[in-house]
Symmetry: C2
Subunit: 66 residues, 2 copies
C-alpha cells in the first residue's frame, strides 16, 4: 500500500497530523484528508511538499485573515 | 515503490504530465516535480487532489494574472 503520513510543518518542527493517508482533496482553501481506514480530517492548509517514496506529505497551515 | 503519476486536470480531461513522481515541492506559486529517475519539471499549478493508493496526483494550472 502506498499511503503516506501527513505532517504539519511549522518552522523546523514537523508535527504528525494523520497517518496512512490515501486521499487528499483541496476544496475552497481547505484540505480534506482521508486515510485508508476511512478516518477523515479537514484542515485549513496547503500541501507544501510530497516525498512519496518516503511516504510523507508536508502541510503548511494557512493563516486566517481577520 | 510508491511513486505516483501526475495528471493535469482541465474540466473533464486528465492529461498525463509526469510519470513515477517521487517528490513535489511548492515554491513561490510553482510546483517542482521530480520523478524517481531524476527527471524534473516545473509548472505553475497547485495540487488539487491526491489518490495515493491509486498512485495518482492531480494538478490544476494557475492562470497567469495580466
Amino acid at each position: 500500500m502506498c499511503e503516506a503520513n501527513a505532517y504539519i510543518v511549522n518552522g523546523e518542527q514537523e508535527e504528525l497530523y494523520l497517518e496512512n493517508v490515501d486521499r487528499v482533496i483541496m476544496e475552497d482553501g481547505h484540505l480534506i484528508l482521508e486515510n485508508i481506514f476511512g478516518h477523515k480530517k479537514i484542515i485549513k492548509a496547503q500541501i507544501k511538499e510530497l516525498a512519496l517514496v518516503d511516504h510523507k506529505i508536508f502541510l503548511e497551515r494557512i493563516e486566517e485573515a481577520d
